[in-house]
Symmetry: C2
Subunit: 601 residues, 2 copies
Amino acid sequence: MKSLVQDYIDGVYRDLTGERSGSVADYIPELAVVDPDSFAICLATSDGYVYEAGDSRKKFAIQSISKPFTYALALADRGLAAVATKVDVEPSGEPFNEISLDPVTERPRNPMINAGAITSASLVAGATVAERFERIRRFYSRFAGRELTLNESMFESEDRTGNRNRAIGYLLREYGILEEDPQTTLGVYFRQCSIEVDCRDLSLMAATLADSGVHPVSGDRVLDAGLNERVLSVMTTCGMYNAAGDWVTEVGLPAKSGVGGGILAVLPGQLGLAVFSPRLDEHGNSVRGVRSCRRISKDLELHFMHVSRAARSAVRASYDVIDRPSRRRRSPAEHDLLLRVGQRARIYELHGDLLFAGAESVVRKLTLDADELDVIVLDIRGVDETAAVTRTMMRTVRDWLRADGVEAVIVDPQSTVLELDPDPAKRLRHFGDLNEAVGYAEDVLLARHAGADAQARAIPIRDHPLLSGLPPEQLEAIVTRLVPHTYDAGDSVVRSGDPTQGLFLITAGPVEVSVELAGTRHHLSMFTAGTTFGVAYAVAGREYDVDATAQGEVAAMVLPAPAIAELTATAPDLMLTLMSRLVTGAFDHLDWVTRALVSPS
Amino acid sequence: MKSLVQDYIDGVYRDLTGERSGSVADYIPELAVVDPDSFAICLATSDGYVYEAGDSRKKFAIQSISKPFTYALALADRGLAAVATKVDVEPSGEPFNEISLDPVTERPRNPMINAGAITSASLVAGATVAERFERIRRFYSRFAGRELTLNESMFESEDRTGNRNRAIGYLLREYGILEEDPQTTLGVYFRQCSIEVDCRDLSLMAATLADSGVHPVSGDRVLDAGLNERVLSVMTTCGMYNAAGDWVTEVGLPAKSGVGGGILAVLPGQLGLAVFSPRLDEHGNSVRGVRSCRRISKDLELHFMHVSRAARSAVRASYDVIDRPSRRRRSPAEHDLLLRVGQRARIYELHGDLLFAGAESVVRKLTLDADELDVIVLDIRGVDETAAVTRTMMRTVRDWLRADGVEAVIVDPQSTVLELDPDPAKRLRHFGDLNEAVGYAEDVLLARHAGADAQARAIPIRDHPLLSGLPPEQLEAIVTRLVPHTYDAGDSVVRSGDPTQGLFLITAGPVEVSVELAGTRHHLSMFTAGTTFGVAYAVAGREYDVDATAQGEVAAMVLPAPAIAELTATAPDLMLTLMSRLVTGAFDHLDWVTRALVSPS
């Protein structure tokens, strides 16, 4: 099938090939030799896929697009504070090659004009020009994801004609901004400008900036996330020379252009865009580059101030365990108790980004509700993003809740979205499945509220729903054939692969039934006092294909398979009554489970 | 319980009250009369909740914070293009009250310096000063969500001392930027600067800008979303006078300050922040205001370039209907067929923001997979945001898929997240529930692949699993008592509230069973040829509490309730066999449904 985005990029490319205005930079002889009508557009996604149109593998000099990267390396080598004493971050409103410093601060206005960029080059670590340039070349290469190389003749051309930059260098030395011979710094700077890239490289360099400094293909952490943020901020206000304001309003992507004809633009968290076309406008930006970016940003709604609607509350839904009970089997007494106190266990379904604003809405709701609650179930399966501030906030609220006797648990199959504490002892209980978490919440309510009537959890065999109300002689016929079994917590009741033992009438529970699928154990259901377990296996004489385990002190009366056969032959009326009760119960339970599926989960 | 965010804001307030540097603006006498140590911080959320600390209800003059709002009104009144001919959007790098225009464009550099703001005031519609000012006052009031008023003595003070602004006005008139008597424009401008607000108002005005121009409490659409985006862009580069670059790198929120001591800052899509404290720094920004914003942005990670990790693929998971079958009852033949062709129906679980980058990842995956598919189920319940470009992209892919014979359906209970077409005839089929969509996808596969063996959907009564293999005399005893029923598509089979009709042995299906809960109809299950329906009702003699409807040409053989009673009395062995088969089938089905719950849904 065709590719939608490729078609789109091809369309933009086709529409703009006719654009021939502007002219190629010629203040460096080597720049003037390029084909003025070269044109390429590349869009790199956050998983490293690159859409390419035109001359996307044609090499050209990176020129000023090097500036944010060398600034980044200077920040990494020297730290934010040290770099800030040498170069400001204010938009200049002046041409990029102005031979002047800010009259008040006596520093270059920002690292995107030549004075600031030369200063950045002087701050990169390395004892010699060669060593420093090699660190720069390697650093750029990691952004691109391949080894970039120097164009020697471009460098020679730069070096031969770079008098304006030398003037800037000596001015910087005069004011003590450069702390070395300007010829040394310019040796590095001219080389960095002469590194060759293609449009595809630029799009991946942009995607790395978009990915908080991690290369989308290699996964290489090229730049610290905080420094990456700083570089993007400076590109936002100063990246497009003195057309920055217009660029921000019309395109709205942090960007950098170079006189080689390249433009690199970043949609943070999302994608990298690059265009190469050597004809420049009066600001020194590629004409087709600016037009392509403007068109693509508008069509694809990439403007960084574009918010299609306000963030919704991070709490998508909230309900209690009466609205949404677990699928555990409960005795009638437990069921009644849960109906009375079930509003004290609430499930909060969270979704979207849990950055500050989302976390604030969750925390506000939880602290409002907490006084009325024993248990909080946070279902965070729909959460996309969290931040450090989220974890700090949630940790504080967890401690408040604990102090108030409210237990919070988390539903999160990956157990990674919202790890609240490095200390395992302090962590919230995690569940892989909402039903298990709700069952646990119900158990907490039952434990807290059942109080003295805990004996409600055990029943005499004659009150078991399968037998209650039978005529005395039928009841005796059954009861005399029942074999008592007891189990301690953790004991196996039945094992997958074993033959059927008979019909289990549970008189004290609970028994958990689970199954192992593809190496993972899944909870299926919980059998408590008053339920009957193993019916289908006993009636059909089948091997178990599930495991049942006692979850506490369990008592069961078992009608063994031979007794079933005997009663079927000698007392078919009795067996028919039992089967009718079982079939009604099974279909009722089936109906109940099926209805549970249409309630929120 | 305490409030976490309130505690935090109170803490910032407390920490910064000791800060006494800077001095109150005194170039307008009325400004100098405020208490220099007033201090308030307010944070407004996107649902309109406001956290307030300090003198949050103390009134002060809005001053320059009026500039983005009047600029917004001028844009709304005249349109982007007309306003662009009068005022640029470039950062100026000069003091806000500079009496100069851009030497090249001969226009004010941007609407946040006085020259640009006075120009904006001249562009607001209205025949007289009073009428124009009243429109401005009402416009600001809608942003604040309450009626704002003019401080008359502030206005008189402005008017008396505003010679510098008059100089700017006459300069603008000289260059033809103002098209009216500058005294008229300044009559409006001085009044707009003298509107009184408090810190809480500013935070809600900021929250309205954050909410794409919709007031978070009233829901009033105050400003078009596109113009709102433009205003935020200009605030980003020009809002904080000539400290804009430093503000963008350190705080990273579009903002505007005023000499009255206010600062308003916006986190798009998330929240509005406001600080009031009259002592100003050398740029004219509130000292405590800048320090508060810097601290809050850092602590709460609000910087607009802050991305905690790269956008993940919008496709969270993808599986076929073999991995995740529907809970519809299928005949063995149907089941076998689905095992053979089930990989031709895939479910794609989407999540997060489906803006361009997310939509691109979905479209790339769908077009890659489509050749191997008959049906695509898009489960978009986890999608938070979509954009116009998303809908365009998805519409195109839908048309491509249709042309290739692939049917796409959508799971979206709200039916609003991704409405692809204004034309209902072209819309994709929507389902409120994943199980229903998967069942439909299976039906499409069965219809396409069952081919000539469509008769697999109907069975002779003697092959019905409940009866097959019975001894001839038992089989006859049943079959002679069965009553044939047939239904056309849409016919009611049983109705909630009706008495039981007996046991339905379905020989041609399907019959859909559903239930109405709280006004909404929910699908429970589907009965096809070979299944038995109505067991629990027939055995227990209960009224129906569900509805069953024929979904095609349905044939059933019904064992009426009196015949059940008769056979129970005369042939208990036979009934016991039937009940054993039913109970085994019910528990098998219960087991199957329960297991379905542990598979992805």
